[in-house]
């Protein structure tokens, strides 16, 4: 279990201190795939580096299975880092070593005998699906293949946790999907806790069980993916979950409500039923549905009729629906 308690990180700069993280509290359970999302510059990369102390927090505690890493000696910290593997956006493979030697590297560091290291490295090459690349050099591989080798290398130290820092951001969508599948597979088969840093909500939807949203160094929302996605409570959360929502501002309408589908219901023709059952015509200002772990989530912005009675009728009808939440949007700029 990873617990971050009151984590702050301040970088001194020429124009005064810059607070990259402020008072972050986070608990990541064993076996979770935990997504940390945020816009660029939100502090995600700094936060994930606080977990293995590549960045030392200015304040706070980093507890791994109840032990505070901040109090460890350098030697003990290095020992602990072997159980917390990390993969990177730029793969960071050793370019002058073959793939096999890259995978052997963490075992070499830990003092595993060369013959055994090689045997295990070949197994990991198999797990990541590149058994024929043992003697290839990283420069001969594609981006996706490089990340697979990096994952094999990360597994080689037999870790309890895997930290992924924008691991798919340099890859095309198809490769991204296959790498995410591999990470999910590793999580299920080997029971490794995974922390995923990303700016892409699609990555979170695809594999995460839990999510935290980071905004300008503050953690604004956290919970299961279903909770956060079905109804983001903060502006930062809404921006990430429904990025297209911002465009709706162009249409001037008086009464605007946001309808949020919480899964299950979204395939029913809600707006058509509204028109037929109540005889109320609503204007769809914007909509965004997405599939999270096989369930549909989405939000829709509706412009209600000017007529008060009709508007109330429509609101009541919507509120009566199962798995649908309705809220007025008072700050709508028409």
């Amino acid at each position: 279990m990873i617990e971050l308690k009151h984590i702050s990180k301040v970088f001194p700069t020429a124009d005064g201190d810059f607070e990259a993280l402020s008072d972050i509290n986070l608990t990541i359970g064993d076996g979770d795939i935990f997504g940390i999302v945020g816009m660029s510059g939100a502090g995600k990369s700094t936060l994930v580096r606080c977990i293995n102390l590549l960045e030392r927090p200015t304040q706070g505690e980093v507890l791994i299975d109840g032990e505070n890493l901040m109090e460890f000696s350098p030697a003990r910290l290095r020992q602990t880092r072997r159980s917390i593997s990390m993969i990177f956006q730029q793969f960071n493979l050793l370019m002058q070593r073959t793939c096999l030697k890259n995978i052997c590297f963490p075992m070499e560091i830990a003092g595993v005998p060369a013959a055994e290291a090689k045997k295990r490295a070949l197994e990991y090459l198999d797990i990541v699906g590149l058994p024929d690349k043992a003697n290839a050099y990283p420069a001969q591989l594609s981006g996706g293949q490089k990340q697979r080798i990096a994952i094999a290398r990360a597994l080689a130290s037999n870790p309890k946790m895997l930290l992924c820092d924008e691991a798919t951001s340099a890859l095309d969508p198809t490769t991204t999907r296959s790498i995410l599948k591999l990470i999910q597979d590793i999580n299920k088969r080997l029971g490794i806790t995974v922390v995923v840093i990303t700016h892409e909500m699609a990555v979170v939807e695809e594999i995460c069980t839990h999510v935290a949203i980071l905004d300008h160094g503050h953690m604004v929302e956290t919970g299961t993916v279903e909770e956060v996605f079905s109804n983001p409570k903060t502006e930062a959360g809404r921006k990430l979950v429904f990025p297209e929502g911002a465009h709706i501002d162009q249409f001037p309408v008086a009464n605007v409500v946001r309808v949020v589908f919480n899964g299950g219901s979204s395939y029913e023709p809600l707006i058509a039923s509204l028109a037929i059952d109540c005889g109320v015509k609503v204007n769809i200002l914007g909509a965004d549905t997405r599939n999270v772990n096989g369930k549909a989530f989405g939000s829709m912005l509706l412009g209600l009729p000017e007529d008060k009675n009709e508007a109330v009728k429509a609101m009541n009808y919507l509120r009566a629906q199962k798995d649908v939440t309705v809220e007025e949007v008072p700050d709508y700029h028409g």
């Binding site: 293995n52 290095r78 020992q79 072997r82 593997s85 990177f88 370019m95």
Partner: protein
């Protein structure tokens, strides 16, 4: 073997060749190899320290230590070699017991070259991707492991081209050693060629130096490229093949 050395004929031959071209080449190479070796013995660790010892480096050292180190390297780098040779004469006498002759020029050569080597090594190590170093840190590498298993192997091609540059620079510095009675091609050019006005010897010595530099530079470049695994070998082979075919008029 001992008999051979006592043989009068052989001794005369050696005596004769002592002023000859082959002997001068041998002296030049001997001087350059020994000086390069010791320059790396001192310069390589110093170059490593200038990179890892920085604030935010792999093994941060106290600021004053780094300041002194950089100051010393810069001072030695800024003294012209001809002057340095004269200045370190007492040091040569202390270490080798003599301040003239071929062997005595090794000391000023090392003193002049190790700061240069340190800077070359520094430049090579700085080329190593900081992400790779970070990855090694995340795996629990100690600073020493990062230096020996990541930074040096990863910068190998660049270190080899740096080595070639250092070797050639020391070779040409060594040619100046004639000024304080050292041997080699340089002294041949200076003492016989220039001062005794035997211009043919001057030209031959210079041409020999040029040939030596060409040979070592092409060996160094080739080794650096061949050992660089970032270059896709298939591409390179294809290009080389095409090149050769072109030259042979096959395409």
């Amino acid at each position: 073997m001992a008999d051979l050395l006592q043989n009068e004929e052989v001794l005369r031959l050696l005596e004769l060749s002592k002023n000859g071209l082959l002997y001068a080449i041998w002296e030049t190479l001997y001087l350059t190899v020994i000086s390069t070796f010791f320059s790396y013995v001192i310069g390589l660790p110093l170059g490593v320290i200038t990179v890892v010892g920085e604030q935010g480096g792999v093994l941060p050292l106290p600021r004053p230590v780094m300041a002194v180190l950089n100051f010393v390297i810069n001072i030695l780098r800024s003294v012209p070699f001809l002057i340095l040779m004269v200045v370190v004469i007492p040091l040569s006498r202390l270490i080798l017991g003599t301040s003239i002759g071929t062997v005595a020029t090794i000391v000023p050569l090392i003193v002049a070259a190790f700061p240069f080597v340190a800077r070359l090594v520094e430049a090579s190590l700085r080329e190593v991707d900081s992400g790779v170093v970070e990855a090694a840190q995340s795996m629990g590498c100690s600073p020493f492991q990062i230096i020996t298993k990541v930074m040096i192997p990863e910068s190998r091609p660049s270190l080899i081209s740096g080595f070639t540059t250092a070797f050639i620079t020391i070779l040409s510095y060594g040619a100046m050693a004639g000024a304080i009675g050292g041997g080699g091609l340089g002294s041949m050019a200076l003492n016989l060629g220039y001062q005794r006005r035997m211009s043919i010897i001057l030209w031959v010595s210079v041409v020999m130096l040029v040939i030596l530099v060409q040979i070592f530079q092409s060996i160094g470049t080739r080794a650096s490229v061949r050992l660089d695994k970032r270059i896709r070998s298939v591409d390179r082979k294809r290009k080389l093949k095409a090149n050769r075919a072109d030259k042979a008029g096959l395409s």
